[in-house]
């Protein structure tokens, strides 16, 4: 276990990646965090200031100056980001002026904190520096990768807090990052059990922090293995489970609520980092290369191409929506590892136009990815023409595939079923198209965008070929709050027998049906303004996006 964590620490690429976990680690060790300057900045050489107890049991002020990886001569003494000038600044400026009054007089320990080791070439320099400046009231400590790994594995992730079977799940999850399905399965077992442990009030915050640290470690390993798929999914799962931990505390507030909410935001930020790694670095650069991403699936199966591309579209949309939420609704400057929203949506349309598998999903549940991306388009307010073209083309292909009974979307999501779809035996077509959320989604949006002729064609096709199909959408109901975020059971309200016809009727019916149950409005994530968590749950658990999300927009309401 320690080895995993040490390797993780050594692989951290940015100084502030180490920043990300230290505060939680310190908190778990009983430290009180005094200050944690904003991302990317130091406060007179100090990255983290905390108060804790030294080995002698004395209460001390700990001032951490953090660097990534090994400490080399360059990192020690060269340039603005070097450690020695930071240490000088701490002694010359921070200590005299920035320590809070209540802690003045306490012994001060300056901690040199880095993910790797001190290189031998500067060992003497560093030791000499520390020795020369150590006094009765000021001392130095080195928190290298090995020490931090030990603190983590014997601290927050120690055996009492992370029992053997959970450690096993965690280790397997990390070891099998190149098999994302298996890695995710083990991580899911870990997170679920950590959440269940966190059901006890006293353990809630710790569970949240444990989840967070585990996701970070998984991500760094996955990044090294050049496959962050499992880390992405694990992070989504982590956010949903941490929300599950925080939601009982929402109404009463309190310090636990605050702490877990901090962890939640940290996870959201981590989600953005992972998303930037995946979407920003691996997908977007090839958005304008014809068929490049389709071919990059490296598969001879059309199913694989379709599944992966729609999955990526959904992930891209989710990232964009989180970015929008952070920037617009919370007025938080989220890390702009990726492009601005308009540019992101534009790149997504480049991907769609250059990878035509994205014109029609192979199974109905992929309508979630389409809905998420449509919401993102709405949020960006841009590229409406391209959006319309996409939807019109999707509708045309849907019509064609149903009429010719070739590659039409099926309700099954099982991979084996998709491989042999469509079968030619009697009754199969009706079975495979027993229900649809895609058609009402498309029809509703096409109506809103004024493409009544296209919807009329869909109506005709439905009348001729799909009159057995239950046209439906889905929204949350009272039972959803309990089950939504962790998918513990079936929940929600099916809005059934929707009329596929041109005009405003469809949207009106959907709106009216949504109004019959206040389940959606009463979702905790909705009430607190954390609505992206609902969308994330829909994406993660392959639920349709509730139409409540888009029906409010003027595109749908300003119609006669």
């Amino acid at each position: 276990m320690k080895l995993i964590i040490r390797e993780y620490l050594a692989s951290l690429r940015e100084r502030d990646e180490l920043d990300a976990i230290l505060p939680d680690l310190l908190s778990e060790m009983g430290f009180t965090i005094i200050s944690k300057p904003a991302r990317g900045t130091k406060q007179h050489g100090v990255d983290i200031a905390a108060v804790g107890y030294n080995e002698a049991g004395e209460k001390c002020v700990y001032l951490f100056s953090v660097k990534k990886g090994d400490l080399t001569r360059q990192d020690w003494n060269v340039g603005n980001q070097a450690l020695r000038p930071s240490l000088d600044e701490i002694q010359d400026v921070y200590i005299p002026s920035s320590i809070p009054v209540e802690y003045v007089g306490l012994k001060i320990i300056i901690c040199l904190c880095f993910g790797g080791y001190v290189k031998e070439t500067i060992r003497a320099d560093v030791s000499g520096y520390q020795k020369k400046r150590t006094t009765d009231d000021l001392s130095f400590e080195e928190w290298n990768g090995d020490k931090i790994a030990g603190l983590i594995s014997e601290g927050i992730l120690r055996e009492e807090m992370l029992p053997k079977d959970l450690r096993s799940h965690f280790q397997k999850s990390v070891a099998l990052v190149d098999e994302p399905d298996i890695s995710y399965k083990h991580f899911s077992s870990l997170v679920t059990q950590l959440r269940q442990i966190g059901g006890e009030e006293s353990k809630r915050v710790r569970s949240a922090r444990q989840i967070y640290i585990c996701v970070w470690i998984l991500f760094v390993w996955a990044r090294d293995a050049e496959n962050v798929d499992s880390a992405y999914r694990a992070c989504e799962l982590a956010i949903l489970n941490v929300w599950e931990l925080v939601k009982p505390l929402i109404e009463n507030g309190g310090s636990d609520n605050e702490e877990i909410t901090k962890v939640l935001f940290q996870l959201v930020q981590l989600y953005q980092v992972i998303g930037a790694e995946l979407i920003g670095k691996r997908i977007l650069p090839y958005s304008n290369k014809r068929h490049s991403l389709s071919v990059a699936t490296h598969s001879h199966s059309r199913i694989d191409v379709n599944l992966k591309l729609f999955d990526m579209l959904g992930r891209l949309a989710m990232m964009g929506l989180i970015h929008h939420w952070l920037n617009e609704h919370l007025e938080i400057n989220s890390p702009t590892h990726i492009q601005g929203l308009t540019s992101l949506v534009g790149s997504a349309f480049d991907i769609i136009e250059n990878n035509p598998a994205l014109y029609l999903p192979c199974h109905d549940a992929q309508a979630t990815s389409i809905a998420l991306f449509l919401l993102l388009c709405l949020a960006s307010g841009a590229h409406q023409e391209r959006c319309e073209k996409w939807l019109v083309q999707t509708s045309a292909r849907l019509n064609y595939s149903v009429l010719t009974q070739v590659d039409y979307p099926t309700i099954s999501i099982e991979y084996e079923d998709l491989l042999i779809h469509p079968r030619r035996d009697e009754g199969y077509f009706k079975e495979a198209t027993a229900g649809s959320t895609l058609i009402p989604l498309l029809a509703c949006w096409l109506n809103a965008l004024g493409h009544f002729d296209v919807v009329a064609s869909m109506e005709k096709m439905v009348g001729e070929k799909l009159d057995h199909t239950t046209m439906q959408l889905w929204t949350a109901d009272a039972s959803s709050e309990v089950h939504m975020y962790v998918n513990s059971d079936e929940h929600g309200l099916g809005l059934c027998d929707l009329p596929i016809k041109p005009g405003t009727t469809l949207a009106a019916v959907i709106s009216e049906l949504c109004g019959t149950d206040k389940g959606f409005e009463s979702l905790s994530a909705n009430k607190t303004g954390f609505w992206p968590i609902i969308l994330m749950a829909c994406r993660h658990w392959e639920l349709p996006v509730p139409p409540n999300f888009w029906l409010e927009f003027s595109l749908f309401t300003n119609k006669d």
Binding site: I283, H291, S294, S301
Partner: protein
């Protein structure tokens, strides 16, 4: 085999003579059989044995099919020289023919019977007289008797004097009796004409049609004999039997059909029913022969009309011999036909030409269509190109070669669109043989520049594909790969089994399955019981096919595009306005 007359008589008396015919005589060649045959005839003619009565015996009823044909061959040699009452001989021949059933060799005893009649013309006269009197047995054998008499006049007389079976027998006989010169033929034709004018029933017309080409063969044509009107009169009923004999006549005696007669015959054959398989097969072979002559256009036009007859549902596979001849015999005509059929936009014709070429060469035939056969209008060139892609998409070299042919003569307004087609969907989907073919286009070829541009576009496209490199997050999981592979293996295994079921070869040989090793050795035993080891070195055999790239990347899109190319039609500007 040495056998004495006494032995033959002894075998006869012990009811074993038939068995001897099937076992001992069968092993003899013609020369060896002559002696025993003569002995049998002598024994029969002297009354020591009655060979005809053997065919009434219980032993004959019980013989197997294999033994029967051996016996039949013996009787064919015996019959001509046997002395026997006419009725008995007719009866004997009938028994032999009936026993043979539908076998192609079933009617051979009739030939022997005819020789028997010819050997003593009194027999023939007797049969004729009996037939004239209305004797049914005699009527059934009338044609052979008339043939034996070799008397055209007598045969004509019977034909004119009677109708029904006697007329049919006389007509049949006229087909076998030598007409030595054109005058004789003309006289018979004249008499046929008078028959036709008052007798339109199908058996008569069929019999006449069966005979007409035969009597003309070697003497003259329908036109020479003034028989074209008769041909028309016979064929205009379009009766199934008549059409069958038209096809048979074209098959066996095509030289007698010149332009006008061919036109009459083909006009009749346009009413052919697909369900008459035998006639269709005859016709197919006949047409393939005619393709070697001057009637290519007419033959092709006939096949085209048959394909377009939606009531019957003819397919090009019904005319595979014709198809082979179309492709291989006359290149200019083939190119002209290909352009006409593809350019028509008619689904049946386009499908036919596509299936024809695919059946000939799976890997793709290169078709260089000369400029003179290609349309000049840009819209028609573009239409033809799209049709070629639509129907030859899975034979990319063929499709591309047609495009290249068009590019050579492309109007400047359509050149760019044609180049686009060569790139997308052709080169976007295929590399391999297609790339090899396009790179082989010579520098002095009129299409070279266009092809080069298309190749460059493809190279840029492929470079773009490679740029993303490895994106592990987009890869399917190992489990998914395994399942996809298993599904693919199952499909291949099923196809292999289905193909094996259709293999005639596999039903003839013993199959051994080698589990290990690169060669096998086993003992084979000779007729004398001697053995020797036989070694067989294993060889590998495989087939490969290139799948279009978009069948994975965009299956619906490419399906739709190819289907559109196939079904689209030219807009008639007059209608459109």
């Amino acid at each position: 085999m040495a056998i004495s007359r006494e032995q033959i008589i002894q075998l006869y008396k012990s009811n074993k003579l038939l068995r001897a015919f099937s076992i001992r005589f069968e092993r003899l060649n013609s020369t060896e059989m002559a002696g025993p045959i003569t002995l049998c005839i002598e024994a029969h003619n002297s009354g020591d044995i009655n060979l005809l009565s053997l065919l009434e015996s219980p032993e004959f009823d019980e013989i197997s099919s294999r033994d029967f044909f051996a016996i039949q061959q013996v009787y064919i040699k015996l019959i001509p020289d046997l002395n026997a009452p006419v009725d008995d001989m007719m009866h004997c021949v009938d028994v032999l023919v009936a026993k043979a059933g539908d076998d192609l060799a079933g009617n051979l005893p009739f030939t022997a019977f005819t020789t028997w009649c010819a050997n003593d013309l009194q027999r023939a006269y007797h049969i004729v007289a009996e037939a004239v009197d209305g004797n049914n047995l005699a009527t059934d054998h009338l044609s052979f008797a008339l043939e034996a008499l070799d008397d055209v006049t007598e045969a004509r007389r019977i034909m004119l004097a009677f109708n029904g079976n006697r007329r049919l027998a006389a007509i049949t006989a006229l087909g076998r009796i030598s007409h030595n010169d054109l005058t004789t033929v003309k006289e018979t034709i004249e008499q046929f004409t008078s028959v036709v004018s008052d007798d339109q029933d199908e058996p008569t017309l069929s019999a006449l049609m069966g005979v007409l080409p035969k009597i003309l063969d070697g003497i003259g044509t329908f036109e020479d004999a003034g028989a074209t009107e008769l041909l028309y009169a016979v064929t205009r009923s379009h009766a199934d039997g008549v059409l069958h004999w038209v096809a048979a006549g074209l098959f066996s005696h095509s030289a007698v059909f010149t332009k006008q007669a061919l036109k009459i015959a083909f006009d009749a054959l346009r009413k052919l029913k697909r369900s008459n398989k035998g006639t269709v097969d005859y016709l197919d072979t006949a047409l393939s022969q005619l393709m070697h002559g001057n009637a290519c256009s007419e033959v092709t036009e006939l096949v085209k009309d048959l394909l377009l007859n939606s009531d019957q549902g003819f397919k090009i596979s019904d005319f595979d011999s014709f198809g082979g001849a179309l492709v291989s015999t006359n290149q200019a005509h083939f190119h002209k036909t290909l352009v006409a059929w593809l350019g028509s936009g008619n689904q049946q014709l386009c499908k036919a030409i596509s299936e024809l070429l695919q059946s000939i060469e799976d890997g793709g035939v290169i078709i260089d269509i000369p400029a003179e056969f290609l349309p000049e209008e840009p819209a028609l060139q573009f239409f033809l190109a799209r049709k070629a892609i639509g129907f030859f998409f899975i034979s990319p070299v063929t499709a591309a070669s047609i495009l290249v042919s068009i590019l050579r003569v492309a109007h400047k307004d359509s050149r760019s669109d044609l180049e686009d087609l060569l790139f997308d969907p052709m080169q976007i989907n295929y590399g391999g043989d297609l790339s090899t073919y396009l790179k082989s286009i010579a520098q002095d070829d009129l299409a070279f520049d266009s092809v080069q541009r298309s190749i460059e576009r493809r190279e840029a496209y492929i470079n773009g594909l490679d740029q993303a490199g490895v994106i592990k997050e987009l890869h399917p999981s190992q489990m998914q790969r395994d399942r996809a592979r298993r599904k693919s293996n199952d499909e291949v295994r099923r196809s292999f089994k289905d193909a094996q079921k259709k293999s005639v070869f596999l039903n003839l040989v013993k199959r051994s399955v080698l589990l290990h090793g690169r060669k096998s050795v086993s003992m084979v035993y000779g007729p004398g019981g001697e053995s020797r080891p036989m070694e067989i070195q294993m060889q590998s055999h495989g087939v490969s096919a290139e799948f279009p790239r978009l069948s994975v990347i965009d299956p619906i899109g490419i399906n739709y595009k190819i289907r559109s190319f196939r079904v689209e039609q030219l807009i008639d500007e007059a209608d459109h306005s």
